[in-house]
């Protein structure tokens, strides 16, 4: 007897259809899995055997062949346990179901017949919808992340037995109710708040601009100046995630298996802070069974790299392509996967090896050769991709003890949200969400300068010896500053402020 069950596989953050075919025939009792299974899939026959027996069914003592079609792509993970088990039960006629081919089925089985959660449910559901699948059976633990997508009926169960009972008469069950994303939006309580950061007015302003436009930012300053504190406060002023952004980010976290099952969706911008001892693969993603790396997990959020020059040079250089293209393409012998990596890079560094160059309170003991060696760890192409450089000096005791009220994160966030909504409106046709992602064509369209601004920019390039590569960066930042100001056009004051955030370009001389 032959049976066919529809299931799905994961390729990067996209799902694709997999048909699980089971044939039971005469021969010595054995189970063969074909169709390029990896170790986890091969082992599924042992889990399936026990799960079937422990759920009160019979495991057929015949020659069983399992084919995962298409046969030429590698199948990974344990999500084929459930379709294989159901296929065997159907092939041995232990249940019947006329509409079996309408369902997409996936789930991992434990030996006692319970169904366990799998990675990548959200991207699979989205792809299933595209493939024309209208009903899907998934593990109950994954139900939340599956319930935000309209147009597909989701059925979720805890045990193999329940699934079989359901399939015997699907019409008796109603699909799982859909959830409203906005219901899960909540005021998150952060332990940090910008009102706790005393002084650092210029740095806070730069943070606000960076958050509003999604600009990459580099903080330079002596140790103890509060760079890390500022970075930790950044999530408190990041604009709210839009629904498409939330789904994109959730997809990646779903594939990585990092999703909180209770919520099933990510509604705050991720903040990832990988340590500088991490490997390149940890940052970019990859590995034998490709998984998204830190830069993809930071998609639509923040990638914070503390002490930037401490990262190995080659680790930093691999950031260049994703910073430009906002995706990372990982090519391996087996296959090539693409993960979105539209993150905002927030980096911090000391101005010199001893950390005190430019400090008012401490003397720098470094030689110029040491300083240039330290700075040369950051290549020009990488620095070019950072829009805002800001110098963060130590705060004085007077600042720390000041009783003066400083702005709270909520006040700043309100302005950021307003500026971001202007950008969303502007780019609604373009598929981008912020000024920092404008390409050259959009820059020339939306960053028109008046004569006075043009003149200032020209003089500043001559006077301050800036590199031509900084040109577009300045325009984008100026656009964001104008948005924060609520101005339709970029004014000279916006341009000069944007130029002020290019301090590293100037020091080259």
């Amino acid at each position: 007897m032959l049976s066919k069950i529809n299931s799905f596989g994961l390729d990067g953050i996209k799902g694709y259809g997999v048909t699980v075919e089971i044939d039971i025939g005469a021969g010595l009792p054995a189970v063969d899995v074909v169709g390029l299974p990896d170790a986890a899939v091969k082992e599924s026959k042992e889990r399936v055997r026990s799960a079937i027996r422990n759920s009160g069914f019979m495991f057929s003592p015949k020659k069983i062949t399992v084919n995962l079609s298409p046969a030429d792509t590698k199948k990974t993970g344990a999500m084929y346990d459930l379709p294989i088990a159901l296929g065997m039960l159907y092939a041995t006629e232990q249940f019947t179901c006329e509409s079996l081919n309408e369902f997409g089925i996936l789930g991992e089985l434990s030996l006692d017949g319970r169904i366990k959660s799998v990675r990548g449910i959200l991207p699979i559901i989205i792809s299933a919808l595209d493939l024309g699948c209208k009903k899907i059976v998934i593990p109950k633990a994954n139900v939340n992340e599956a319930s935000y997508i309209d147009g597909i009926d989701v059925y979720a169960f805890d045990t193999l037995r329940e699934v079989v009972d359901f399939l015997r008469d699907p019409s008796k069950h109603t699909p799982y109710p859909k959830l409203d994303i906005n219901k899960f939006r909540e005021e998150r309580n952060y332990s940090e708040d910008f009102s706790l950061v005393k002084g650092q007015y210029a740095a806070k302003r730069a943070m606000e601009i960076a958050a509003a436009g999604g600009h990459n930012i580099l903080m330079i300053g002596p140790p103890g100046g509060g760079k890390t504190m500022l970075a930790r406060c950044l999530p408190t002023i990041l604009p709210d995630l839009t629904i498409p952004e939330a789904l994109e980010t959730t997809k990646i976290h779903s594939v990585a298996g990092l999703l909180d099952d209770k919520k099933g969706i990510i509604l705050t911008r991720p903040f990832r802070a990988p340590h500088h001892t991490g490997s390149k693969i940890a940052l970019t993603g990859g590995g034998v069974n490709a998984r998204p790396g830190e830069i993809s997990l930071a998609h639509n959020g923040v990638l914070f790299m503390d002490e930037l020059p401490e990262y190995p040079r080659d680790t930093l250089e691999i950031l260049r392509q994703p910073l430009e293209d906002n995706v990372i393409t990982i090519a391996r012998a087996q296959r090539t996967v693409e993960y979105p990596a539209n993150f905002m890079l927030v980096a911090s560094m000391n101005p010199c090896p001893c950390g005190n160059y430019g400090s008012k309170t401490h003397e720098c003991t470094c030689t110029p050769a040491q300083i240039s060696k330290y700075m040369s760890k950051l290549s020009g192409p990488l620095m070019d991709r950072i829009d805002i450089h800001i110098e963060v000096d130590n705060v004085t005791y007077g600042d720390l003890s000041s009783k003066e009220r400083t702005e709270t994160s909520a006040e700043i966030k309100a302005r950021v949200n307003e500026a971001r909504s202007i950008q969303l409106e502007r780019f609604k046709e373009q598929g981008i969400y912020s000024n920092s992602r404008m390409n050259n064509r959009l820059v020339s369209e939306y960053c028109k300068l008046d004569d006075e601004s043009e003149r200032i920019l020209k003089i500043s390039f001559e006077r301050l010896g800036m590199s031509a590569r900084a040109y577009n960066r300045i325009l984008k930042v100026a656009r964001t500053i104008a948005d924060l100001d609520g101005k339709e056009n970029i004014l000279p004051i916006h341009i000069t402020e944007a130029i002020g955030y290019r301090s590293l370009d100037r020091r080259v001389r």
Binding site: Y201, R205, E363, D393, I456, T496, I499, R506
Partner: protein, 356 residues
């Protein structure tokens, strides 16, 4: 046989300049050439080791061949017999070499020269001062002399070139291989727009004895020597000693008394060197023309700029301080100071802004 060739011959024998000069006081180069094989007195004065060499090279066609080889490398020679030989070196106190190998424009040696020297392992302060002095001296039309070493020397040369000034690099080794290698490119640039010279044969490599010797040429070429930064045992202090012996002015840049890199310069000041706080201190002492500061047209400042300008008149301030002391917002301050910087009203110095 002309004198140039004779001086070249004498330079090959390896005698110290001091002895060679003493020899040349008692007889002329032509006499030495003629008398060498016969005069016992001369042989005694010169010593066997050097006699051997002098005799071995005493063939005119050999000397001609050598000179052609050197000329083919683009290296030129100026000897004492030549009018173009640096006049300031001819001073007896300098103990001049008989000839100099050079590349570049020799005519600049007789302009107003000031040496800027200092330690190789300089601090950032040292670099800033070296560059500032070089810049301002160039503006006053002064030629900057130094030794092409890493550290202060290199920064002084590089800044001079960047400002379009004249600079002379005096090396402690031959011109075939410019040392240190890290400054070889800077050396090439100086060949084209300045002068690079040495008393050593092109193939000679520098030794620890040649550097002090070349230091006397650095100080000898210059009206005055500025020591920017020097530790207790810096070679720059040797240059300063030579300058004193040669009757030239010695200047030293004061530094923190706790900084090891300013120990040497601070001691020089104690011993009577003139402290330098700006290029005008040097120009005044050397009685050189101080360029008139072109009176900038009355600044036209807008409301924000005027506020910041007034605050900066009391001294350099960081953006944080400006925010606190004015009632402007950080965004306004940032935009305004950058604008003023572009206009050239104020400058940024490592984290703070100040009036130009």
């Amino acid at each position: 046989m002309n004198d140039n060739k004779l001086y070249f011959w004498l330079s090959l024998c390896g005698m110290s300049d001091k002895r060679l000069n003493a020899l040349l006081e008692i007889c002329s180069p032509a006499e030495i050439w003629e008398e060498l094989p016969k005069s016992e007195k001369l042989r005694e004065f010169i010593g066997d080791k050097h006699i051997d060499k002098l005799m071995r090279f005493r063939y005119e066609h050999f000397l001609d061949e050598e000179l052609v080889k050197i000329g083919a490398k683009g290296i030129r020679i100026v000897t004492r017999a030549d009018n173009a030989f640096p006049k300031r070196l001819l001073n007896k106190e300098v103990c001049p070499p008989v000839l100099l190998y050079y590349k570049g424009d020799l005519s600049i040696v007789d302009t107003d020269c000031v040496a800027i020297v200092g330690t190789r392992a300089c601090s950032h302060y040292g670099r800033e001062v070296a560059e500032m002095l070089a810049r301002d001296l160039v503006t006053a039309g002064v030629t900057i002399v130094s030794g092409l070493a890493t550290g202060i020397d290199g920064y002084a040369h590089a800044e001079t070139l960047a400002c379009g000034g004249r600079t002379i690099a005096v090396l402690g080794g031959g011109l075939d291989n410019i040392t240190p290698v890290s400054n070889a490119r800077l050396g090439e640039e100086i060949e084209y727009s300045g002068l690079i010279m040495t008393q050593y044969h092109p193939s000679a490599s520098p030794t620890k004895y040649t550097f002090p010797e070349r230091n006397r040429i650095i100080s000898g070429l210059s009206l005055g020597t500025v020591v920017v930064e020097a530790g207790e045992k810096s070679g720059a202090l040797i240059t300063a000693d030579f300058a004193l012996e040669q009757g030239r002015e010695v200047f030293a840049v004061p530094g923190n008394i706790t900084s090891s890199k300013s120990k040497g310069t601070n001691r020089l000041i104690c011993e009577g060197a003139k402290p330098v706080t700006c290029a005008n201190d040097i120009l005044e002492e050397l009685r050189l023309n101080i360029p008139k500061k072109e009176k900038s047209a009355a600044l036209s400042l807008d409301f924000f700029e005027q506020k910041i300008y007034t605050l900066l008149q009391d001294g350099d301030k960081s953006i944080e301080e400006l925010v606190e002391m004015s009632d402007l917002r950080a965004s306004e301050i940032n935009a305004t100071v950058t604008g003023m910087e572009i206009k050239g009203i104020i400058v940024k110095r490592a984290g703070t802004y100040g009036i130009r």
